[in-house]
Amino acid sequence: MLRLTSVVAAYGRITALRKVSMHVGVGEIVAVIGANGAGKTTLLDTISGVLSPQSGSINFDGREVAGLSPERLVQMGMSHVPQGRQLFPDMTVYENLVLGAYRRSRADKRAQMREDLERVYSIFPRLEERHTQLAGTLSGGEQQMVAIGRALMSRPKLLLLDEPSMGLAPLVIRDIFKIISTLHKEGTTVLVVEQNAKAAFSIAQRGYVIETGRVILEGTAHELERNPEVQRAYLGKGYKQIIES
């Protein structure tokens, strides 16, 4: 579904992705983990067209999409849930969700939007209860639900999630990831970037580890979870041994 080949991207003069190659197969859920500044957000921004790569190729659904606009990519079936949710705090939950259907053509808009909204409400019943509430007054977990719900309004084939666990309590993280897992089971392909490796590996089948813009590990979630390097850097295990030796 998604295939990146030697993608290079930069913010100004700072190279953030250095020849990154990765792929996400149809129906897969793939996690990219890395520390702060590793290039995770740049990666998703580059895939979703927010940022143009300097070189390399991005193939989505059989087509070369590097450099295409985010709107075009949304139309093609890619939806990006940005880091920090990026909601409109002074608009209601309903209004925020409807914005996600913005790219639909006028003709089929109403009927389909209704249907999509129903689906989002069935996934997140809490949002239906609070559909008139201003987004800025919601809890972090609820805001994340709105952000994901908004992305679903465009009926994506591929859902890009940027640190959905950020700033959330462990129990809320579990709920959010359970929902991501459900979406995946219902047929959405998912690429999630996370610092929270444990949460990411709880739902992912495969994963990549990036460090300073380079991929340094790849494997099944099962393999990566057990990798001593990953455990040390991202799962908070093994520090004691390091200090002792």
């Binding site: 080949t5 020849k19 380079r214």
Partner: protein
């Protein structure tokens, strides 16, 4: 025949190349970051990990040789701290000091899985009783095949090498269906079986997986005829991982390379330029998933050809032909790798011995016989018999200590071998 990992063994070329590029890039990133040897090589060549944008950029990377591995003895090539290494094997080296191969837990899992593919391709299933006659030890053959066959679910007998009559008894009593070992040992077993007068019908043997030695077609034919089994070839090299790199399927038309873990290139050993498909060249392997010791462009010194066409069995990965020779002077005697220079270095250190020698290898009753002719000084030859015997004993013991094989020894008069010039090895085995 079952395909052990259908997804990986029947991948489209496009998917395979994407996966290979991803893995090559991260291997290069890791090797550059974690292995001083590669870091220095890259700096010397003025290249950076980012120079790898496509699989074809593999050609820009430096080669790794056996000598490099021996110089890195013991742990210089390791890419992870020793506490993450859970198994250590080693291989022989020309200078006497071999290469040390370390495996992480993940490497061992991968290894078993790759051997499971090879074993399955040959036709082994969980119904089989599989007897491993490779040595269990520093050599990778025994353990490699063992865990892979166990992964498939076969009943594995770790018989290890030697004691052929006992092997045959086990084979008969335990109803062994699959024999694993070197081709020459398989023939030796056939020989001893005939000598013991045991009828073939007393055995359940149906299949053999052979490796570790030259295995030309005429030898396969002979094994198949005499043991009445299907004999398949598989390829491994300890320095790179061990068995599990490639193996034949039931069609016996080349060894399927596990390309999602190893990139195979063929080069002309003299010019180091790439050799096109179908032509013979030296096999160069790059590991793209190994964590303990990543190897970039390892020169195997083995001569083969590569065929990228998908096989009738359904596997899409590239096939290599049977190894047809070496590009160095390494000898394989009873499955053990021996370099003439190892013998030379031993003789050099022994007093009373001239630096002139000749290695003669014969195959007697299907077993390799290894004889060393050594020139000794005139004083020694005219000395007491006891001293000569002691000297022979000493050389034999030193050779055994270094290469693990005990040669026959013949002490000869000075100047009898000198004239031989470079003819230091006479291999009468017709392989």
């Amino acid at each position: 025949m079952p395909i052990w990992n259908r997804r990986c063994e029947t991948m489209s070329r496009q998917d395979m190349e994407q996966l290979q590029l991803e893995r090559l890039q991260l291997t290069v990133n890791r090797a550059y970051r974690n292995v001083r040897f590669y870091h220095r090589r890259f700096e010397k060549l003025g290249i950076e990990p980012e120079d790898v944008s496509a699989l074809s950029d593999l050609r820009r990377l430096p080669f790794t040789t056996k000598e490099d591995l021996c110089e890195a003895y013991p742990y210089e090539m390791f890419s992870v701290p020793l506490r993450e290494i859970v198994r250590i094997h080693s291989s022989s080296g020309a200078s006497g000091q071999g290469a040390v191969i370390g495996y992480t837990r993940n490497d061992l899992r991968t290894w078993s899985d790759l051997v499971a593919r090879v074993v399955s391709a040959a036709g082994v299933t969980r119904e089989d009783v599989l007897q491993v006659t490779f040595d269990y030890g520093l050599f990778t053959g025994g353990f490699g095949l063992h865990y892979g066959a166990e992964r498939v679910g076969a009943s594995v007998i770790p018989a290890s090498g030697g004691n052929t009559e006992r092997q045959i008894r086990i084979m008969k009593d335990f109803k062994t269906t699959v024999l694993v070992g070197t081709p020459s040992y398989a023939l030796h077993i056939a020989e001893v079986m005939e000598r013991m007068g045991i009828d073939r019908s007393a055995f359940s043997l149906r299949l053999g997986l052979f490796g570790g030695e030259p295995f030309p077609e005429h030898l396969r034919q002979e094994i198949e005829d005499r043991l009445q089994i299907i004999a398949t070839d598989n390829y491994g090299i300890s320095d790179v991982m061990g068995p599990g790199i490639a193996g034949e399927c039931e069609h016996k038309c080349g060894l399927h390379v596990n390309e999602d873990h190893f990139l195979a290139e063929l080069i002309d050993p003299d010019t180091l330029e790439p050799v096109p498909y179908g032509e013979q060249g030296e096999l160069v392997l790059t590991t793209i998933t190994k964590q303990g010791i990543p190897l970039l462009r390892y020169r195997t010194r083995d001569l083969t050809t590569l065929n990228p066409e998908p096989c009738e069995c359904g596997r899409t990965n590239m096939r290599m032909s049977k190894i047809s020779g070496r590009t160095d002077d390494m000898l394989i005697i009873r499955g053990v790798n021996v370099y003439p220079s190892q013998i030379e270095s031993i003789l050099f250190e022994i007093e009373g011995v001239e630096p002139h020698y000749q290695i003669i290898i014969d195959r007697v009753a299907a077993m390799d016989e290894f004889t060393i002719l050594v020139e000794v000084s005139t004083e020694i030859l005219t000395d007491q018999m006891r001293r000569l015997v002691e000297l022979e004993e000493k050389i034999r013991a030193r050779v055994h200590a270094m290469v693990g094989l005990t040669p026959k020894l013949k002490l000869v008069e000075p100047k009898t071998l000198q004239s031989l010039g470079t003819q230091r090895v006479v291999d009468n085995r017709n392989l």
